[in-house]
Amino acid sequence: MDKTTTEVTYEKVKIIVANTEFEVPSNLTIMKAFEYLGWRLDRGVGCRGGFCGACSTIYRLKGDHKLYTGLACATKVEDGMIVAQIPISPANKKLYDIESLKAVPNTMLEFYPEIARCISCNTCTKACPMDIEVMDYVQAALRGDIALAATLSFDCIMCGLCATRCPAEITQFNVGVLARRLYGRYIQPEYKQMTKRVKEIEKGKYDAELEKLMKTDKKGLAKLYAERVREKA
């Protein structure tokens, strides 16, 4: 997605890294700006498309006292931007065996009692590059509303920016994972037809048919393939 640093010339902006000013084209993301400067990245980089949370970045803007958070791969540089990356977020992760858990209101608090310390400052929500209502899912977890915590946190890419900013030292993204797994395992109903299909497969119901197809030559397969009827969308 980023092979082409384009031939078109864009106006330059100045970004500041470690108190040093660098000039980069204004059309670049923070990540590509680093590469433009000749840096070969091996930290703070992953999917390069806003999916993996490897490129957490904090920055300030010219004449603005605020500390902003974002993804280096998905944020454009701006003139006067002061940038630093946080490639790893030290996390509090509790261990559990999903099979022995119960999706009861207290489970969340049992594993992550620190959620009770949330002061509802909303800093996490403001920090989230995925626009997730982070505080709301922490509060939902606190109330024991696992379903809500799960659905609200679903888009989380585990970048850790919320946790870095939280005055209550909560590892929100791990709270989210637990909520989602409890929801997926115990609250969403089981897919009955799948249980049935798995049994059929284990009994070998499709083996003969598959065996036959495996032995069919290319011509025979091509005929069968052409004769398929596509199920209506």
Binding site: D2, L28, D42, G46, A54, A150, F154, Q188, P189, L224
Partner: protein
């Protein structure tokens, strides 16, 4: 319009698209005939450009046809100087070494444990962080023939036909037969798939499917799988070593694989791992930018596993074929190459030329659809070209809300919408510009249905392998592959480990391979490359080597 991200000439074209939308709504183009398919593939698919291919000149798969970029990193010496590695001092002695912390790797580890390998006797070595992988990026879904109207046999036929009958039948059989088992396991682990109130998983079509069998977790299917698997790997306390890519495999004096040499990216030291079974799950090669295409792949997708495996004597197969996903973003420039999931077309968005016309069935198999798009742009000159020179066609995303009701795009494609929004494009109101992007490594290491390569104690699973998908993979069969064969690798190695006895460790195979390179007078830079190099020449020219600092 204030701050229109689209330049005027593109906006003009969008107006035409809007005008024709109502009329197009109910019109779907027909499938291509087999003859048309042959024609468009032969003339427009990048795989068919002979000048872009080479035959490997040496090694176990001598004669195998590969893209030039692949030949360049296979036919070259190792980055590792075997003389500098002390194999008398081993840093980690384990039963099972897994190289690569993506979906296949995580599955292999978890299933090895289920089959009796102790967690503390496993080591997952990975290049970036655990889970930074193509798996995390997968959006669309995972195939499994679960529904009553479907069966593993129909799934098999779809995969074989889509793969142009070049699939390895035992691999494809295992893929389709084990599919429901794995999807059920994922359900049990607590992954949040889209379900109806009664628990039935939602399922849709993907390119080349004859039944709706794509199951999904919104447009974060791979992320949901990876986040859950990683959580499980943490729960089981499986030792992980991050930012430490493998650079070569270690063998023993009996010719068996016996572990690997890793590179600590911080200290630049090597790390030696001795293992009774080694599973390569390093994923694909998008970052080689075959034929200059942009890619949808993550930063670490650089073919390392195949390079290491090849030097150790494991054959490659089907390397001639590369998957270009028909719809990568072509605009805005910051996200060129990024995937626009096939599901967008699955939900009804049509592909249009600059005149707002459809020109093909929107869900042909990927190779055909990509070729049709390349033909419409380059061949027929009906595409647009962005200010940075990138050709593209329209994907009429607003149609989706017209068909399924307002809010459908926002609900189903949150990740995608956000991705475009970050750079000012609103895909709910405006169509988006697309062009094929380098997406998937169809070929790779040859394995049997139990993931064994031709070299003893060396196993491979996931995108790094070739054969399961023939010369064209269907959407949703890759997340399935990493699940089915990741599991298979765990089961197989759990069985093999107790029987393994290792001899004296050696890197002789590297010395010999390097000698072969000398014999053939190769001049390519050493490999594996580990990361793509996006720095500009003017920087390279000014670098002072810093070796003296160590």
């Amino acid at each position: 319009m204030v701050n229109d991200p689209y330049p005027d000439y593109m906006r003009e074209s969008i107006k035409i698209v809007e005008k024709t939308r109502e009329k197009r709504l109910k019109v779907t183009m027909d499938h291509c005939s087999p003859d048309e398919i042959d024609d468009v593939l032969n003339n427009y698919h990048p795989d068919f450009i002979k000048a872009q291919k080479a035959s490997l000149r040496f090694g176990v798969s001598k004669g195998e046809v590969v893209p030039l970029e692949v030949a360049k990193i296979i036919e070259t010496k190792s980055v590792l100087d075997p003389k500098k590695v002390d194999l008398n001092k081993i840093d980690f002695v384990v039963d099972l070494l897994i190289i690569g912390g993506g979906g296949a790797g995580a599955n292999a580890a978890l299933w090895a444990i289920k089959n009796g390998v102790k967690a503390e006797n496993i080591l997952i070595a990975t290049k970036l962080r655990m889970g930074d992988s193509n798996t995390t990026m997968a959006q669309g879904g995972i195939q499994a023939a679960v529904r009553e109207v479907d069966s593993p046999a129909i799934h098999y036929l779809d995969a074989i036909g889509g793969g142009h009958y070049e699939n390895d039948p035992p691999l494809t059989r295992r893929l389709v037969r084990d599919a429901p088992l794995l999807l059920q396991w994922y359900e049990k682990l607590g992954m949040m798939f889209d379900k109806f109130d009664d628990g039935t998983m939602d399922a849709i079509h993907g390119g080349g499917t004859s039944r709706k069998r794509m199951h999904f977790a919104k447009d974060f299917t791979g992320a949901e799988i990876m986040k859950t698997l990683r959580d499980e790997v943490f729960n089981k306390e499986i030792p992980i070593i991050e930012f430490s890519p493998a650079v070569e495999l270690i063998k023993d004096d009996k010719g068996q694989v016996a572990g690997a040499v890793l590179l600590n990216l911080d200290s630049k030291e090597y790390i030696t791992v001795k293992a009774k079974a080694t599973v390569v799950t390093t994923g694909g090669f998008g970052r080689l930018h075959i034929q200059g295409f942009p890619t949808s792949n993550h930063y670490g997708a650089t073919f390392d596993g195949c390079v290491m495996g090849y030097r150790a004597g494991a054959p490659l197969k089907l390397m001639k074929s590369v998957q270009y996903h028909p719809t990568g973003a072509a605009f805005p420039e910051q996200i060129v190459g990024l995937l626009v999931t096939e599901k967008v077309r699955g939900k009804g968005a049509q592909v249009l030329n600059k005149n707002g016309e459809q020109f093909c069935f929107p869900l042909e198999t990927r190779d055909v659809e990509a070729s049709l798009i390349i033909r419409e742009c380059g061949g027929r000159n009906n595409g647009l070209v962005t200010p940075s020179g990138q050709p593209g066609l329209w994907l009429d995303s607003p149609l989706i809300d017209q068909i399924h009701g307002e809010g459908t795009i926002a609900k189903n494609f949150a990740a995608m919408v956000r991705q475009f929004e970050r750079f000012g494009v609103n895909m709910i109101e405006d169509p988006i510009l697309i062009y094929p992007t380098l997406h998937y490594q169809n070929g790779g290491l040859a394995i049997d249905e139990n993931t064994a390569t031709a070299v003893k104690n060396l196993y491979a699973a996931g995108e790094v392998c070739g054969g399961t998908h023939g010369s064209n993979r269907l959407m949703g069969n890759s997340l399935l592959e990493i699940s089915v064969f990741g599991r298979a690798a765990g089961i197989t190695t759990a069985k093999s480990i107790p029987k393994v006895s290792l001899g004296k460790l050696t890197l002789d195979h590297i010395t010999k391979y390097n000698a072969l390179c000398d014999e053939h007078k190769v001049k390519n830079p050493p490999s594996p490359i580990l990361f793509p190099d996006y720095s500009r020449q003017e920087h390279k020219d000014r670098i002072i080597p810093t070796n003296f600092l160590v």
